[in-house]
């Protein structure tokens, strides 16, 4: 008997056994064996909108740039202007190809002078690191380190997130503004990076702790215990996806990819074309000079009964194919069926009616403002 070629082993975070002990449903996510849901996607989604949820996002990658040229390297690689960051501040950004499409979106953290940390996507880790080395690896005076496996990254998200994490740290979390971070003692661990960031459209924190299994499991369990009074739930990638979709945040491979440019993805506000040269800038200037992109990412809300999903065609009301849904799902908090989709600019105006082709049938939808969900400012 011959054995079939084994599929490459899935990668595991330090919390894999913890997820399995919680009876999470596990899936292959970009080569990682990750929890998609524990108690149920809708319950997890609602916990984050109304209370607090805990996510293992250790599959995300981390690239650090140090040395006198590190700012130049980051600013050559990324479209946002890292020179505007203060120490302890983070910004949404992206690495682009010369044609203005996406290598990946990233969050740039300024750890110190000449010291930057880029948090990158899981599915693109190897590609990103190769791209970084190929593009700026030859620059003198910058040292690039892949720290992806050094951290267990936990996201504590929801209106109660600050109250929960505050029980576990002596750092005054109220002093950390949105998209800022600091270092503090968390669960007895010194110098933990505590960032007020996330991917849910909700207030929350991401903490970076050592990636050994006992420490990771201990902190995970201490966060769950601290959140018990607020009915904290461990949350999987299923809720992470619906939460980010309600907040209309881009997901690599869906809204952004190597065939989508910055303006098409509606992320032009993060591209600082006047900061100096960076990879992709010339192409973006050319798109601007040509009068902007031909197609745009829009928010759709289903008007008729049906759920538009990833990859479904978008049609004009006359039935002509005009675009495609990049992400579509029922929205558990909004209780509507929503989607992000590329359509020609002439269909991108608010309230424009289109159809989504669902199993051969055109089902009516309309263009609505994004984000679909915006949390109340406190």
């Amino acid at each position: 008997m011959t054995e079939a070629a084994a599929a490459p082993a899935l990668r595991r975070t330090a919390l894999n056994a913890t997820h399995r002990a919680l009876k999470a449903k596990m899936v292959d996510f970009g080569g990682w064996d990750m929890p998609v849901e524990y108690s149920g996607l809708i319950a997890e989604h609602m916990a984050v909108r109304t209370g607090v949820g805990l996510f293992d996002v250790s599959h995300m990658g981390d690239i650090q740039f140090r040395g006198p040229a590190s700012l130049d390297a980051v600013n050559r690689l990324c479209m946002n202007d890292a020179s505007k960051l203060a120490v302890g501040q983070a910004q949404y950004s992206a690495m682009l190809y010369p044609n203005g499409t996406f290598v990946d979106d990233v969050v740039v953290h300024k750890l110190g002078e000449n010291d930057y940390l880029l948090v990158i996507n899981a599915g693109t880790r190897e590609k990103d690191i190769r791209w970084v080395r190929d593009t700026v690896g030859g620059m003198s005076s910058t040292h690039i380190s892949d720290y992806s496996d050094y951290y267990t990254q936990l996201a504590i998200q929801g209106p109660r997130a600050a109250q929960v994490l505050q029980k576990l740290t002596d750092t005054d979390l109220s002093t950390i503004k949105n998209y800022w971070f600091t270092w503090g003692k968390v669960c007895g661990l010194y110098n933990v990076m505590i960032a007020r960031t996330g991917y849910t459209g909700e207030d929350g924190f991401e903490i970076y702790i050592p990636s050994d299994e006992p420490t990771s499991a201990r902190v995970w369990n201490e966060v769950l215990a601290a959140g018990a009074e607020f009915s904290i739930l461990p949350c999987g990638l299923g809720a992470r996806n619906t939460l980010r979709l309600e907040a209309a945040m881009a997901l690599y491979g869906h809204e952004i990819s190597d065939s989508v440019n910055v303006f098409e993805a509606n992320l032009g506000r993060y591209a600082k074309l006047d900061k100096g040269d960076f990879v992709g800038r010339e192409a973006l200037l050319a798109v601007q000079a040509a009068g902007g992109p031909q197609r745009k990412l829009v928010g759709l809300e289903m008007v008729e009964r049906g759920i538009g999903r990833d990859g479904y065609p978008v049609l004009s009301l006359e039935g002509q194919p005009i675009g495609v849904v990049t992400s579509g799902s029922p929205a558990p908090f909004l209780k509507k069926n929503i989607a992000l989709a590329f359509v020609p600019v002439e269909f991108a105006g608010l309230d424009t009616e289109v159809a989504v082709e669902i199993r051969g049938q055109g089902v009516k939808a309309k263009v609505v403002p994004v984000p679909f969900y915006k949390r109340a400012k406190v």
Partner: protein, 129 residues
């Protein structure tokens, strides 16, 4: 949850309860559990004909779409309209939450279906438990 022994089952995870030439169809507990929170059910109209092994509708959870396969051929005599507004009832009790009722056109097709014990074995092989 146990699979009722008076039902027959498909490998596509539907159950059918047969009474003479009438039958009631739903999806199994394993199916609802694999799908997760069910939010949408698309069912045929009364009077429509369905054919064994062919799709008769679909069921959607937040994250997935799954076709529904007719266990046997027949004519739809009733549709559980309650599922339009409360599809989550399938998650709560898949064994008793029916989708469609049929008048069977080929009752002998039942012979090709799985018993509860066969279905349970099939599911355990599929999941590797």
């Amino acid at each position: 949850m146990a699979y009722p022994t008076n039902y027959r089952y498909t490998k596509e995870h539907e159950w059918i309860q047969i009474e003479g030439t009438n039958a009631t169809v739903g999806i199994t507990d394993y199916a609802q559990s694999s799908l997760g929170d069910i939010v949408f059910v698309d069912l045929p109209k009364v009077g429509a004909t369905v054919e064994a092994h062919k799709t008769f509708g679909s069921v959607e959870s937040v994250k997935a779409v799954s076709d529904l396969y007719a266990p046997m051929s027949g004519t739809v005599t009733a549709v559980n309209d309650e599922l339009t507004s409360a599809p989550e009832k399938i998650n709560t009790d898949a064994n008793t939450t029916w989708m469609i009722k049929l008048t069977l056109s080929a009752p002998a097709e039942a012979d090709a279906l799985l018993s509860a014990a066969d279905y349970e074995t099939f599911v355990s092989e599929e999941t590797g438990h």
